[in-house]
């Protein structure tokens, strides 16, 4: 869900950049130096996981997992998503420099909202973790699609039909992401419960510093 350069209007680009800058500032401020490797390397893990193409009916869609990213990284979702998008803008020219703010916001803000809603629940046992996982995956995509669609619709009357199409196209992806995120959360709860600790996964504790 990258919006390309040259599509959005100046006020939309500016507000996207402002929210992204604020989110980055909060994310970096809450982040201690001892977690920088973790955020960078998990961001790389998520980037690679998004290479997985899941069949949906006759087509395929790549994983987004921004809901799960929110559960694992909390406010650090902003820098983690920003680095991934910036790299794509520079290396493959997907998205671009002026749209970096809007694209970061439309993926990272839903991640933070999902974190605030579900991070407690995701640490629970059994059915609770499944519900939290499905909710995180589903709402992560739903909010993202709404924000992308809103950014397009706010840029001009001409984009109203594209804006609707964006939401319709993402409905099947919401369900797939919901199911996959539920399975992943249950899996992580079994093998690495510390990863679901949200804001403070215990690196320093487990490392026995």
């Amino acid at each position: 869900m990258h919006i390309s350069e040259g599509v959005l209007s100046a006020p939309v680009l500016a507000s996207g950049a402002a929210v992204a800058a604020a989110g980055l500032a909060v994310g970096l401020k809450k982040l201690d130096y001892d977690r920088l490797p973790q955020v960078g390397i998990l961001a790389a893990g998520f980037f690679v996981a998004s290479l997985v193409h899941v069949p949906i009916g006759p087509t395929k869609a790549h994983l987004v997992l921004n809901g799960l990213l929110g559960l694992l990284l909390g406010w650090a979702a902003f820098p983690a998503i920003f680095v991934g998008l910036a790299l794509q803008a520079v290396l493959f020219q997907y998205g671009g420099l002026t749209t970096l703010g809007v694209n970061t916001t439309s993926m990272a803000l839903p991640a933070v909202v999902v974190y605030l809603l579900f991070s407690r629940l995701a640490q629970g046992q059994g059915r609770l973790a499944w519900v939290a996982g499905f909710g995180a995956g589903f709402l992560g995509i739903l909010f993202s699609a709404l924000m992308v669609s809103g950014a397009l619709a706010a840029s001009g009357e001409a984009f109203s039909s594209v804006a609707r199409l964006v939401i319709v196209a993402h409905v099947p992806i919401m369900f797939v992401e919901g199911i996959l995120t539920a399975v992943i959360v249950a899996f992580l709860g079994r093998v690495r419960p510390a990863m679901l600790g949200g804001a403070s996964p215990g690196v320093s504790k487990e490392a026995g510093r």
Partner: protein, 255 residues
């Protein structure tokens, strides 16, 4: 995964200080991205093509990358001229209306997006990622963000190999994706294992860094020299960007 395909070369743009290129690319994207006239679109595309020629990039790979950019553009060419209008008589309460102004808008957007993509290839993809990170740090981007970038990019390759091994193992066991719950569960576990390995690796990396006395400071090893070449480049690009902004502000009565 070899990503920095354009970074090798000895063209004038390859040799420039990445700080100068970053600043110029950002200013160009801003001016061109915000413009709305066809004249600006064509001029920007001309400048971009010139930059690609100066950078002596392999034109075949450039065209392939532009193809990816234009997939989204193809959607706009169809969707922008078609407009949803309220139509009480029809079943959905909506109907389509053909609006030729949408074609012009799609044209302007296509020109601008291609121009910006070409300039990013000519200016940014001609530096190594490592140089760009250093340039960002020298330009006073917060050190935490630069460090996250460095860890991210360094381990992207490692984790991509991990991903390759995992999918190969799945194929070796006869996994064939389809529209079923088994596929979704298998892919979920693939992503889960990938994330667990990222997490474990992050811990080992951090411990190894502690051993080497990491306290959060990023020591910059590469320093760039700003010479007359960079000054000349900045003068030329400011003139071009000034001309483009004039075109962007110019009223579009004749386009």
């Amino acid at each position: 995964m070899h990503l920095e395909t354009f970074a090798k070369g000895d063209s004038p743009l390859h040799c420039l200080d990445p700080r100068a290129k970053l600043v110029a690319a950002a200013a160009y994207s801003l001016v061109v991205g915000l413009g709305t006239t066809l004249a600006l679109g064509w001029a920007a595309l001309g400048v971009a093509l010139a930059a690609v020629l100066v950078a002596r990039l392999p034109l075949g790979s450039v065209a392939r990358r532009l193809g990816a950019v234009n997939l989204f553009m193809a959607l706009l060419w169809v969707m922008l001229p078609l407009r949803l209008v309220p139509a009480p008589a029809s079943f959905w309460g909506l109907s389509w209306e053909w609006d030729p102004a949408g074609l012009r808008l799609a044209g302007v957007i296509t020109l601008k997006a291609n121009a910006i993509a070409l300039v990013l290839m000519a200016l940014l993809a001609t530096s190594t990622i490592n140089d760009l990170f250093h340039a960002l740090a020298h330009l006073r981007v917060p050190t935490k963000l630069v460090q996250i970038f460095l860890f991210f990019y360094r381990y992207l390759h490692v984790l991509h190999q991990e991903y390759h091994r995992l999918t190969q193992a799945m194929r070796a066991r006869g996994f064939a994706p389809g529209n079923n719950l088994h596929t979704y569960r298998s892919y979920a576990h693939l992503a889960g294992v990938l994330l667990v390995r990222s997490y474990d690796r992050a811990q080992r990396v951090y411990q190894a860094m502690l051993c080497r006395g990491y306290t959060g400071t990023l020591w910059l090893l590469d320093h760039f020299t700003w010479g007359s070449r960079e000054n000349l480049f900045l003068v030329i690009s400011s003139l071009i960007i000034a001309a483009l902004s004039w075109l962007a502000l110019e009223s579009s009565t004749w386009t």
